[in-house]
């Protein structure tokens, strides 16, 4: 399978430890790689792509090590963050050159297909120097897809893209993920990571801080009470009954409604509707205030 496996991988430059003992498995579908600036996301992606050797540990892609293994490039496509295209080439020429470098049996067909996937057919015969940032990103993706790799690595793929291009790119990655490819992408835009991938890997200061579905990660943070905003027909009365429940550690009446802190998420979520019904209070809105990827991420980075 096209799984990426890391086992106790570290990478250092002299005294600087960029990646510190990371063990993780990335399977099919779309996985988001998150972390503050300088946490090591680019280093990790480059190691997986075979451009950097791990200083320690084992890193395999689809069962084979990626370092010093040119064969890995048949399996992996990398879309780096830096502008790594020859601006004097046309889009089609660039993708075709990549296809030829891969020694594909039919580079022309592969090129056309890849360009079709990223919807750059109209602009393919223009020089890349005339492309906008979003178009450059897409042509880089086409070049990374031209050999139809089961593993696709993208470093900040949404950089510089306008809203429509973002939506298209998200749809594209979603489709590719559904096809069974293993897609790992790094991004700072958490709203989009949230929508695109349920699975995330969070890197903080070179270490793996958390992995998996972010909602599940949030539920694991039991030492932090869950925070909810509730709007009802009688916030005060509901607040009074809620504070009587052991699952609830705090209620606060704010301008936007009743803020509730629940130490026992499971109990609270089952009790709320019951309490409201028994008191004859209408529930208009219940919003988890800190279950978004952004909150989860903030908690992970804090510690």
């Amino acid at each position: 399978m096209s799984t990426i496996e890391l086992s106790h991988v570290s990478r250092w430059y002299g005294n600087v430890v960029a990646i510190n003992d990371i063990t993780m498995t990335i399977g099919a579908g779309v996985t988001g790689l998150l972390g503050p600036n300088g946490a090591g996301k680019s280093t990790l992606l480059h190691m997986i792509a075979g451009f950097l050797a791990p200083s320690r540990g084992e890193l395999t892609v689809a069962g084979a090590a990626s370092w010093h293994n040119p064969g890995i490039y048949r399996v992996v496509g990398l879309v780096p963050e830096r502008d790594s295209v020859y601006s004097f080439l046309t889009g089609a020429a660039f993708v075709r050159a990549t296809a030829q470098l891969h020694r594909l049996p039919d580079p022309e067909v592969a090129t056309r297909r890849a360009i079709g996937i990223v919807e750059m057919a109209d602009a393919q015969d223009r020089r890349i120097s005339t492309y906008s940032k979003g178009m450059r990103q897409r042509i880089k993706v086409a070049a990374a897809l031209v050999h139809d790799p089961p593993v696709l690595l993208l470093d900040e793929p949404f950089n510089g893209m306008d809203p429509r291009q973002r939506l298209h790119m998200m749809d594209l990655l979603h489709r590719l993920g559904e096809q069974g490819r293993t897609i790992l992408f790094s991004s700072h835009i958490l709203e989009e990571v949230e929508r695109l991938s349920g699975t995330i890997q969070v890197i903080v200061a070179g270490r793996l801080a958390a992995s998996g579905d972010f909602r599940a990660i949030r539920r694991l943070m039991t030492s932090r009470p869950h925070v909810f905003m509730v709007r009802t027909s009688d916030d005060r009365r509901l607040g009074a009954s809620l504070i009587g429940r052991p699952a609830v550690t705090g209620v606060e009446l704010t301008g936007r409604g009743l803020q509730v802190r629940a130490s026992d998420y499971g109990a609270f979520s089952r009790e709320l509707a019951v309490l409201a019904r028994d008191q004859g209070i209408r529930l208009r809105e219940l919003l988890p205030a800190d279950e978004s990827l952004e909150s989860v991420f903030a908690y992970l980075v804090e510690t």
Partner: protein, 342 residues
């Protein structure tokens, strides 16, 4: 609404000329911070950056959105007097952009998108120097530079060379130099570029504070619609050099008649029971969308969940989102309630 502190300079020249805003509501000239009429910018070789744009920007925080090449940067540059328009008119804070460009530039601050900081001066020196370039006398420039840097949250770092700054600090310096001349209007181009999530949140909070507490109108050009929704009062969307839509944020994100219910387990049970009680619903990923037929709907949902003992995670009225403007497919419209037309 922005509150102007007392002693504030007299507002823009008011006359009774009325200009149509894009949504057809007439607005008085005096209350718009920016207005354009048939503004166009054409380059040789047939490239049209702006094609007869007519729009008014209200005071407060406005998000300027649009595809790459839609004309956002061109508009900002014309408003700042950096490039001349081919035809049409623009006015900023009541002054004509062509006739009073210099006056406008005393009243506006600009935070460009690209890297524009020299690496070998300190933050303080840089902002002070630009304060003098804005026309402040030497002492005032120093003082205002110190204040601006404090407001954007740069403390001891300001005495270090800019080349040693992180991306977040550099963005803050860019914002500080835009504020140093005490502008009445700020033009921010992609202010959160390159910032990590914590940095983005800090920058957005800062911008919201400036627009709210400082009484400065702001135009934020951004690709990130989530952040636009979070801090902007109004939205102006451009497309291919012209206006796509201009409206208040509440109008863009108005609620629909659809309730989204999320339970951690038992969604199918819930749907079945609701159907039995006469409520139509359809699933949408983790949520169950239920058509809102009145207040009774809320109570019914509450009761069913209580009876079934399901863990309720979320209950909210679905809102439209700004990004729907850019969705090509109609199916994305959340307003399409289950079981029929909205």
């Amino acid at each position: 609404m922005t509150v102007r502190p007392p002693g504030w300079d007299a507002g823009p020249v008011s006359d009774s000329r009325v200009i149509e805003t894009a949504v057809g509501e007439p607005g008085v000239t005096g209350t718009s911070v920016i207005e354009t009429q048939a503004l166009a910018k054409r380059y040789p070789r047939g490239v049209t950056a702006l094609d007869g744009l007519t729009v008014a920007f209200a005071p407060g925080i406005t998000g300027l959105i649009g595809a790459n090449g839609a004309g956002k940067s061109t508009l900002i540059k014309i408003l700042l007097g950096l490039i001349p328009p081919t035809s049409g008119r623009a006015s900023v804070l009541g002054r004509d952009a062509a006739a009073s460009a210099e006056r406008i530039r005393t009243l506006t601050g600009y935070m460009p998108e690209h890297d524009c900081l020299p690496p070998d001066v300190t933050g303080t020196e840089f902002v002070t120097h630009l304060g003098r370039m804005s026309g402040l006398p030497a002492t005032a420039a120093k003082e205002r530079a110190a204040e601006s840097l404090r407001h954007v949250g740069l403390h001891e770092e300001r005495y270090r060379l800019i080349g040693t700054y992180s991306t977040g600090m550099k963005q803050r310096v860019k914002l500080a130099q835009a504020l140093v001349g005490d502008p009445r209007l700020l033009l921010l181009d992609e202010p959160t570029t390159g910032l990590d999530p914590a940095g983005r949140r800090a920058m957005l909070d800062l911008i919201a504070r400036i627009g709210g507490e400082f009484g400065i109108s702001i135009v934020v050009s951004s690709h990130l619609l989530g952040e636009v929704e979070r801090i902007c009062d109004h939205v102006v969307a451009l497309e291919r050099g012209g206006l796509l839509r201009a409206d208040t944020m509440t109008s863009f994100t108005r609620v629909s008649q659809v309730l989204a219910v999320e339970v951690d387990e038992g969604m199918q049970e819930l749907a079945a029971e609701l159907t039995r009680r006469g409520l139509v619903s359809r699933p949408d990923e983790r949520a169950l969308l239920v058509r809102l037929e009145g207040d009774a709907t809320y109570d019914l949902i509450r009761d069913v969940i209580a009876e079934l003992g399901l863990p309720l995670n979320r209950l909210e009225q679905r809102r439209r989102r700004v990004e729907e403007l850019f969705r090509d497919d109609q199916a994305a419209s959340d307003d399409r309630a289950p079981g029929g037309a909205a």
